[in-house]
Subunit: 191 residues, 2 copies
């Protein structure tokens, strides 16, 4: 998606440890017009796939999921990272290792929101090692739902998450794939 | 807002400890059509107030903020609850006590996203004791921005947050104010 690649080139910042900061428009400050274009693009890719629910994980995924759900006219459900007093009853749980935060955490989703009748599109802002995505896929498997597709804004193509998901047979669409990055700049994979 | 009150009556669940669960449509599963109507209502109330940015806090606030920002055509910025390796440089910080999670936590916002040139609308899903809101107002004060208004989906009118903000002179709009709740039902404040 050229529009997203341009914004990454204009405003993204490469930091030590393979960090690509896009906090000006994607995950701290949010450019809602860009998110709407991203949602339209995901609908172009997955719109004919019978999706009836969008699944994501707090916090950055929520904005992308909501702005995409408008185009599909389906609800969003998001996995939570912290255990709240307000989540009770039966939940699906999976454990995720976060490189960003340097720790393991549990993600939870109330069982009533996902089941065998659902065909979900899973969305997230980044895909790198794919740990959070594996947690979401684990929850999908527990629920018996069908994974209709996986949509990612920015994939770090030099980390293994994307390749593993493609090998596993998922319909994965990453709107921008960064194949290399350094202080000198970024290279995107031609798509 | 009658539409929101109706959904609360239909799908909200009262739980011990003054908990009102609205996870079917507002903060776990998200009804994007309803959020769009909520955004339109906030625009009706605050649309003439010169708002140039919407401020919220992760995670539940993000969906409401994004769907409202579309109506204002302004960016969203959200305060983060956990310290990420990816947030560097100067940040505004404030400490918040959460009754829901039973602990104190820091919220942070990168300084580059809020300053004296901004007039913000602060949005959140719930207002009860107002602790998270006070943290956001503290960050606004640190930044020198102007608070143009505060928009809340559901205020618990029997807890002190709303009254304190009105006494302090803020333009506060709560789309539904629950004045009492029990196993027998809910009472909304006439507005």
């Amino acid at each position: 998606m050229k529009l997203l690649e341009q914004r990454i080139l204009q405003e993204g910042q490469v930091r030590p440890g393979n960090v690509l900061k896009v906090d000006c428009f994607l995950n701290h400050q949010l450019d809602v017009d860009l998110l709407d274009e991203i949602g339209a693009e995901f609908h172009r890719i997955f719109g004919a796939d019978g999706i009836n629910k969008i699944l994501t994980i707090e916090a950055s995924g929520i904005a992308i999921a909501c702005m995409t759900a408008r185009h599909f006219d389906v609800p969003v459900v998001f996995a939570k990272k912290a255990k709240s007093k307000n989540i009770d009853g039966d939940v699906f749980t999976s454990t995720v290792h976060s490189y960003t935060y340097g720790r393991d955490y549990d993600i939870t989703l109330a069982k009533k929101f996902l089941g065998p009748e659902d065909k979900v599109l899973i969305l997230d802002d980044f895909l790198a090692n794919g740990k959070a995505m594996k947690g979401l896929l684990d929850i999908c498997e527990q629920s018996g739902c069908t994974v209709g597709g996986i949509g990612i804004c920015i994939e770090k193509g030099f980390q293994p998450g994307g390749a593993e998901l493609r090998e596993a047979g998922y319909k994965l669409a990453s709107l921008a794939i960064v194949d290399s990055m350094s202080d000198d700049g970024l290279t995107f994979r031609a798509q």
